[in-house]
Amino acid sequence: MKLDCNHIWRELSNYLDGEISPDIRRDIEAHVAQCRHCAALLDSTHNVIVLIADERRLELPVGFSARLREKLQRELATLRPD
């Protein structure tokens, strides 16, 4: 099936996640091979997703675990799980 750019946009996430049938994947790749805009959309969105996954590594604030334990200790002494 020949896909247009709107189809590509709708299937972008499924394509990037590999949650797509082999037929649709083939059609998308055929379109992307010919369409610079969709190629740019796929590549750039992929790059952003990879960046999020690999670089969003915020450290816990200093003392986070100690403060959490302190707060829990106070509460756990008096509370019972329902």
Binding site: A40, V50, L51, L72, D82
Partner: protein, 234 residues
């Protein structure tokens, strides 16, 4: 000829652990998950029988994930820490209601997301527009890039580019930040994200698509404004 990206190229270990993959000598990822789940259920039994100190062991692997999820939604470190503390406390208080067909981590993140949402509402920082379902149904056309190299891979390594990405995430509507945090930061599945957010899997997919494209566009705008030549001043 232009490279066509295979979905396999996009596979990340975190998001794509295959349950049948053998990871060592004779055991699989599925075995590891089952073992972890069993240990967690044993800890929960201990806690419910009065050994409250076991709660620390139960939550230790999730401290960072809970904080990160709260931070990505709230964008303020102090608020995220308070919400994380509240989420852990709430998890303790309602531990008996935890249904064991779900993963403990999924249940804990659902509590975290709900706590963060309540905090946002208290702050009144969420516009009605960003919560409207119409937001997702509206047509949206991604910014057209002249060439994929406008977001080159090398640029992604630069510190400033990372900062621009953080700004872009902060600029997303709340519901888009949530789905990006769950799927792309925490690497949860569509089914797990749907359970946490109380959405159908179809709605999770639609929301994720919109969120990813909007995030990319916010990022592109920031990259462009950074590289745009400044006008000469008299």
């Amino acid at each position: 000829m232009r490279r066509v990206l295979s979905p396999l190229f996009f596979v990340t270990f975190r998001a794509r652990l295959h349950l049948g993959v053998t990871v060592g000598l004779g055991f699989t990822v599925a075995d590891l998950f089952a073992d972890k789940k069993k240990r967690e259920f044993e800890l929960i039994d201990r806690i419910l029988s009065g050994h409250h100190e076991s709660f620390y062991d139960l939550i230790a692997p999730y401290e960072r994930r809970v904080f990160m999820t709260a931070f990505d939604i709230l964008q303020v470190e102090a608020d995220a820490e308070e919400v994380a503390q509240e989420a852990f406390l709430k998890a303790f208080r309602s531990l008996r209601s935890f249904r064991r067909e779900a993963q403990f981590s999924t249940w804990l993140l659902r509590i975290t997301v709900n706590e963060a949402r309540m905090r946002l509402r208290k702050r009144r920082e969420v516009s009605l527009d960003s919560l409207s379902p119409n937001h997702e149904e509206a047509d949206y056309t991604p910014i057209l890039l002249a060439d994929w190299r406008e977001i080159p891979g090398e640029a992604l390594l630069r510190d400033e580019t990372r900062r621009l990405l953080s700004e872009s995430i902060a600029a997303l509507p709340e519901n888009y930040r949530e789905i990006i945090t769950l799927r792309d930061v925490n690497g949860l599945s569509t089914a797990e994200s749907a359970e946490i957010l109380g959405l159908s899997q179809g709605n999770v997919k639609v929301r994720l698509l919109r969120a990813r494209i909007m995030l990319r566009d916010l990022f592109v705008e920031r990259l462009r404004s950074r590289t745009r030549p400044r006008e000469a001043t008299p």
